[in-house]
């Protein structure tokens, strides 16, 4: 559960990064968070607004940043090398973790990077479905730099779709892109 909760900000950022400019003016990024205690967060932003807003994020958060996944620290360069290997390969499962409390699968399928995780007896789940082109674009920068603008453009070119769904015993998070300003 703690892992799932720790993952939520990362997943939200992944959703934000998974967004561009080709059809950016027509597409909206939606983030919906519902907590069991009643708190709700609703975000509806035009993709081109997300693009401009991300340009205001202090550089240290996007450049020379290291990404921590499941307590393992990865450099952007390492992720880039890993991703090239993934892209060159066929559709396949890269990571499978199965134990009594946790079940994680990371795989490539029809041009999408998929992550499914289930944790605990309460069947908390994380489902991530990021277009491969978006990850490609995100990792297309130099050195330790994430190319956020390119990732946004790739997502806009990709169009509508679900990106992230998290369900656990306390929170429900959904991140998606569609052509409407209000949530459906």
């Amino acid at each position: 559960m703690k892992n799932l909760k720790r993952s939520i900000p990362l997943l939200v950022i992944a959703g934000l990064l998974s967004t561009g400019t080709a059809r950016a003016a027509d597409l909206w990024l939606h983030v919906s968070v519902d907590e069991d205690e009643g708190a709700t967060v609703r975000v509806n932003l035009p993709l081109n607004l997300v693009d401009k807003a991300l340009a205001m994020v202090p550089e240290e958060h996007l450049h020379d940043g290291r990404i921590v996944l499941d307590d393992v620290e990865w450099s952007v360069a390492e992720l880039r090398d890993l991703w090239r290997e993934v892209m060159d390969g066929p559709d396949m499962t890269f990571v499978t973790v199965e134990d009594r409390d946790e079940n994680v699968r990371v795989w490539k399928e029809n041009g999408y990077l998929r992550v499914k995780a289930r944790e605990g007896l309460d069947e908390s789940t994380v489902d991530v479905r990021v277009p491969g082109a978006v990850v490609d674009a995100l990792l297309s920068g130099d050195g330790e730099q994430l190319n956020v603008s390119a990732a946004l453009a790739a997502l806009a070119a990709h169009g509508e779709g679900e990106l992230v769904t998290v369900n656990d015993d306390q929170d429900r998070v959904r991140i998606w892109v569609d052509g409407t300003a209000e949530m459906r």
């Binding site: 003016a25 909206w28 009643g38 708190a39 709700t40 967060v41 609703r42 975000v43 509806n44 932003l45 035009p46 081109n48 607004l49 401009k52 807003a53 340009a55 205001m56 300003a181 209000e182």
Partner: protein, 150 residues
Amino acid sequence: MMTRWQKGLTIAAASLTVLVLGWAVLIGSVYAMSGVISIRFHDRQNGLDVYVPLPATVVEGLVSGGVRVAGDGLDEFQAEVAEWAPTVRELLEVLDDAPDATFVEVRDGRDHVLVAKRRGAIEVTVDTDEVLVEVSAPVHMVRRTVQRVL
């Protein structure tokens, strides 16, 4: 038949009415054409309730005047924010072009935060146990003002 005095009073009253109506029409037109910036602050603890509606053109005029008299202070400010100025301008351009929508809404118990665009105005509401703050400003006016300042 009206006496001379009655005629004079009638003409004076009619002139006054035309003058008052003219000003009302003029002020109403300014409000309608430029939009209104409104700020409401309600302190629930001590009952203080302040509501300030201002025609956007008046605020723009005040900012323009401020820009003219600011001199070196404005130059320093512009130098400090130069890195962000193009992004802020682009952001406001996109916001101006965006349709009306609720951008961010957070509800947590009694607390409610809302950022939305309604009828071309950006609206921010913060509603908690302690305070209610409502700010509304036409996006096109904010855009023009920021362009002038940055």
